[in-house]
Amino acid sequence: MVRLHTRIRRATLLLTLLALSGLTACGAPDAVNVYSARQEALIQPLLEKFTAETGIPVNLVTGNGDALLARLENEGDNSPADLFLTSDAGNLYRAQAENLLQPVTSPALQAGAPAHLRSDENYWYGLSVRARVLVYAAERVDAADLSDYTSLADPVWRGRICVRSSGNIYNQSLVAGMLATDGPAATATWLDGFVANFARTPQGGDRDQIKAVAAGQCDVALVNSYYLGGMLQSDNLEEREAAEQVTLFWPNQAGRGTHINISGAGVTRAASKPEAARQLMEFMLREESQRWYAQVNNEFPVREDVEPSALLQSWGSFKADALNVSELGRLNAEAVKAMDRAGWK
């Protein structure tokens, strides 16, 4: 036992030294370092393609956007990150506000993301678009009764709506968008009516809301379009069947358009390879990259001249909210507070 213990201790020491010396900060020194809130599977193949084409290796850390933002902030000027990639506009807005990004521009970038899907001062650019839509059970709901988000506060929907928790960024962005266009008073009134119509305590993810509609627990649910796409393409029979039982509805078509958010990227202020980081952003805005990047997650390309996937096209075209997505970031905290006050769990 004693001998075993000394052996263990020696092994530990060795391993620790090995780990500390070998696996420190990064791999190749000339590589572009990416902090990504978008998952590895949804980005890694594209990065590999970039490396194959340019010879520039890419190092990746994925994680929660807010946590990566905190890491970026604490590491300061010495941060190894060159590119900050997020799955929502809020964190890009915050990174810009906290002076963690640097403005970058080029004709390719300017031509890529439309004006309302990038920062005014070129700090960041949108890469893909997702929409917050309604799904409903066609046998219990007349599509004519559905119009915009605001109508969901109507008492006819009492006990018929499913939606996930207000802790989720999708819902926060939706409410932030309302705050931006309708103002706090109208939003608060809407929230009260909307929350009163919940069929159950908010729980689960967006797919769970779709399943609940399919199972008859509620009639309408508020979800991101790509989850419906994911379920329709799932190799799980139950998921596919559930998704096939619901119908998609584009809200706000008569008004300001369906609420959208983006995934996007910006070059960090501390970047030691800003040039390569810009190159990577340009690469991601190229037509074939856009097609893959949007399709892998059933999202819409940010470039208006790139067609979405066949499945997305089958849902018909829709009018998207033209509000600058920076606003979603600016008003996010306000939105959370408003939802807390309304009792949206």
Binding site: L20, N78, G204, A215, A333, K337
Partner: protein, 538 residues
């Protein structure tokens, strides 16, 4: 003296991230506080208290009963159950939550089959909602009871059988003896086990978030991610710490006068031979606990994994395995060594300072991994940047980030987070060694280090192994710390499982989740093998 310095320094280092969190209390207090107090905070607190109450009762019930059955009773399958009942340890709480939701949710197979069979519609019948406070209590209890089981079982095996016989000869039935003698004597072990379970409960985010239960951790994350107020979130975490401190101070105080040194028992425990319906009931109980906590969710994962095997498995998957294993091994060894340093130092020099720093160093367990990660990140980044700034000013060279973003920082964060687990095990083991043994060894010329090596290590074998195992499995399961602090291109099974699950691809997350469970089984088997060779096992 050297020992004490090392002890205070290392405890101080481990306490640093917690201190960083606590320092947030110094202010400033933002307007977010008014908002929280006006709206949701009370709700979070009440829910967290209910959750603790439920999980405390649940783990105590499951852990103590299974420990009593396997340690002191003889029934068909006891040998197998005595190790198999540890298996739920390998099951992360958020994963068991996914599997049960898959099974029991409104849209799941069980309720669908019921509706099919009886022609019911939504609202026609009542079914316990899995995504609820009660559901969260069940899930957490099912995977956290092994802490109680493990520690209580060791304590029960080492109890002097004469105490039970004394009680029986004084007119108490076997049943009364259990509640009047056996369990009260196992109280330090039960308290230690429940403490671990409760700390994990307080730090849990995955399960409560998935179930839509607004617990205190929900508040912390909502404040950070939603309101963008990291500082206020840290303050909330600091209040959580204070709460935990008070709670455990109360528990310690309530048994301050009691001493629970092991009575030197000459005989191994005599197991009560159960027959007939009692034996059947014992086997059934153990089987039910095992099924609910492990077999059923593992089977569900297996079914899912089989469906998605080809889409998830690749050579990169082996790298995930390797990384997970490396991280868990480093962190558990680090925790064990530090726990030995602290536990033993506290015992040899039971001063206020030593006791204080030890307790502070083990506070990390009650803090959600994400918050610990922030507490590690802030001082390390500050140190790196300060050093770099100084070097640039004086020598004109840049050192960049030396510690931040390395595997070392990540392992350190895990030591901070899980030191309490190994410390509990080591200290529980140490309480069972009477001080006279130390004293006799010291008087025979052994240094404190010599006593540790030649007396305690052999005597503590099981405790040390369980310390290693518990941390290993914990690190394997833990996600948020890795997610925030990891170096570039360093993925683990938990990260992969999380990425798929957070994209709501639960079925695809099953393969990495199952791999976590399977790797977690290795140390469990190792521990159980040592348990079956220990001398108390008759």
């Amino acid at each position: 003296m050297l020992w004490r310095i090392a002890m205070v320094l290392s405890a101080g280092l481990v306490a640093m991230p917690v201190a960083v969190i606590a320092a947030s209390l110094l202010g400033p207090y933002s307007t977010a506080w008014t908002h929280l107090l006006d709206t949701v905070l009370l709700d979070y607190i009440v829910n967290s208290l209910l959750l603790m109450l439920g999980v405390g009762a649940g783990t105590l019930l499951l852990g103590a009963s299974s420990a009593w059955l396997t340690a002191l009773c003889e029934f068909p399958g006891r040998r197998v159950f005595s190790w198999a009942l540890l298996l739920p340890l390998a099951m992360p709480a958020y994963i068991i939550a996914y599997t049960y939701t898959g099974l029991l949710d409104f849209a799941g197979p069980v309720q669908s089959a019921l509706r099919e069979a009886f022609g019911w519609q939504y609202g026609d019948y009542w079914f316990p909602p899995i995504r609820s406070l009660g559901g969260a209590i069940c899930m957490l209890s099912l995977v956290l009871y092994p802490y109680v089981y493990l520690l209580a079982r060791i304590a029960l095996l080492e109890q002097s059988p004469a105490l039970v016989e004394a009680s029986r000869s004084l007119g108490r039935s076997a049943w009364q003896t259990l509640f009047r003698v056996t369990l009260p004597l196992a109280r330090p072990a039960l308290a230690a086990g429940v403490s671990l379970a409760l700390m994990e409960t307080l730090a849990d985010y995955g399960t409560v978030a998935y179930f839509g239960v607004s617990a205190f951790t929900t508040g912390i994350f909502r404040t950070w991610y939603g309101l963008g107020e990291l500082h206020t979130a840290a303050q909330l975490a600091a209040f959580l710490l204070i709460f935990v401190l008070v709670l455990f101070a109360l528990e310690r105080h309530s048994r301050a006068r009691l001493r629970f040194h092991k009575m030197h028992s000459a005989r191994p425990p005599s197991r009560m031979q159960l027959r007939g319906w009692r034996a059947a009931a014992a086997s059934t109980t153990a089987l039910l606990i095992l099924t609910a906590g492990f077999l059923l969710p593992a089977a569900q994962l297996g079914v899912w994994a089989a469906q998605h095997y080809s889409s998830v498995f690749s050579t990169a998957f082996l790298a995930l395995l390797g990384n997970s294993f490396l991280l868990a091994a480093l962190a558990s060894l680090g925790c064990l060594l530090l726990a030995l340093l602290l536990g033993y130092g506290k015992r040899a020099y039971p001063g206020r300072l030593e006791t204080g720093v030890t307790r502070l160093a083990s506070m990390g367990y009650a803090v959600p991994g994400t918050v610990i990660a922030v507490g590690v990140m802030i001082p390390f980044a500050w140190m790196d940047n300060t050093l770099d700034g100084w070097l640039q000013r004086t020598l004109g060279v840049s050192s960049g980030l030396l510690i931040s973003g390395t595997l070392g920082a990540l392992v350190f964060a895990y030591v901070v987070r899980f030191l309490a687990v190994s410390l509990q095990s080591v200290e529980a083991g140490l309480t069972r060694i009477r001080p006279a043994i130390d004293e006799s060894a010291r008087s025979l010329g052994q240094t404190p280090l010599g006593v540790l090596r030649r007396i305690h290590l052999p005597m503590l074998r099981t405790s040390l192994l369980s310390a290693l195992l518990l941390v290993f499995v914990d690190v394997l399961k833990e996600l948020p710390t890795t997610l925030i602090l990891r170096p570039f291109n360093f993925n683990t099974l938990a990260v992969r499982a999380h990425e798929l699950a957070s994209d709501e691809r639960l079925a695809e997350a099953a393969l990495p989740a199952l791999a976590i469970v399977l790797i977690g089984l290795l140390p469990v088997i190792l521990l159980t093998r040592s348990m079956s060779t220990e001398p108390t096992e008759a």
